[in-house]
Symmetry: C2
């Protein structure tokens, strides 16, 4: 009988934000698979899990997702991940694929999950603490109060759609803002919202910053901007 | 010296979705405060925490938030909560206020946090797994893939704003949908999106349902609708 595939959200970085369920799933799985950008990397998700789960006797497998702009290279990475997971599951072993933050938000895992289900494998998904929830907690700031709405957009997305979301919502989370701070500052300036934005960057890592927009600063990869039009 | 106030997200219902940090905070706090709709209720957040943390020696305090439409009654509930927490903190004790799901999303706690900070108390917020992340995990469905955006709206909110969000976003989460299923069905029907919606209702409780829109069904209080325009 084929093993079961688990997608496990490990939270935003602080190992104490792992859930009991994530730890148990990882400890019970035969194999831990973890995403890396290049072969031999440790991977942020694995570093988080290793701090609270005993993986000493555990088989681990890296899944290489090269963040390559080239569509062909990405498809080939993806195909190799499907093949690697299928081989392990066909051998009757269970696999936990660990992923940063929550699994349903901007994780390649959910694509894998759908494909593996279509191939007949049984799967389960274990949610995690989303990075923007952790960012709001660090800033001690609500994302939504009462009956307000929230827009979550990626700064790699379509600029017109981002602009429309910023105009029409009371609360906006700009994800993947690290490499786009020039555009963020322009966007907020145009909308008259620069004073309404809070930057949450590299929480629990080198270069942590929670505060107002500071154009002189360099921001790390894990940067989220929370915009609140209310008080 | 005054004690510290903690806002602690306990996740969507499954006690195994508590984080290590939430459990430690609750076990270390001198007093646990928990929201109820009426005096003497146990409160969902407390029932979750009691299954994984030892509260036997712990002082507990209920905070009554009557879900009253009357503004005056709500303000009076709120004022009593502020007074109760202040009295405990002034006595040098720490208090953990536990709240369902994540703290930053639709929780009265964040209002309390801001007011208590304004009164000079030190506070901290511990994020939790958001109910809609858990719903997406149960449905084994991504909320966002690639560079997509996500709109989160409350069905108690402004109907025009809800409609605009449904029209303009690829992915929409309709929160607090339990008492509004007639409006949800109309909204999705008008937008031609009824086949694109997944209902996630009462996960881990009586009447659990994950599946397509079924107009014949009765849905519980904890009902979220996930709409995805993509495949």
């Amino acid at each position: 009988m084929a093993g079961r595939l688990y997608g496990v959200g490990v939270g935003p970085g602080d190992p104490d934000l792992l859930t009991l369920k994530a730890i148990r799933c990882v400890e019970a799985a035969d194999v831990i698979a973890y995403p890396v950008k290049a072969p031999g990397e440790k991977g942020t998700a694995l570093e988080i899990v290793m701090q609270r789960a005993d993986l000493s006797q555990k088989e681990t497998v890296e899944l290489i997702f090269g963040m390559n702009a080239d569509d062909k290279a990405r498809k080939s990475d993806y195909g190799r991940a499907v093949a690697a997971l299928s081989a392990i599951l066909d051998g009757g072993k269970s696999v936990a694929v660990i992923t940063l933050g929550d699994v349903s938000l901007y994780s390649t895992y959910m694509r894998l999950n759908a494909d593996m289900e279509a191939r007949g494998y049984k799967t389960a998904v274990i949610p995690g603490v989303a990075s923007f929830c952790s960012g709001a907690a660090e800033a001690r700031m609500p994302l939504t109060i009462g009956e307000e709405g929230l827009a979550v957009v990626s700064m790699n997305g379509d600029p017109e759609e981002i602009r429309a979301a910023v105009e029409s919502f009371d609360n906006i989370v700009l994800m993947k803002a690290g490499g786009h701070m020039g555009e963020v500052v322009k966007l907020l300036g145009d909308a008259g919202l620069k004073e309404k934005a809070t930057i949450v960057s590299n929480i629990g890592m080198d270069g942590q910053y929670v505060g107002p927009v500071d154009e002189e600063r360099q921001y790390g990869y894990f940067t989220t901007v929370i915009v609140k039009k209310g008080e």
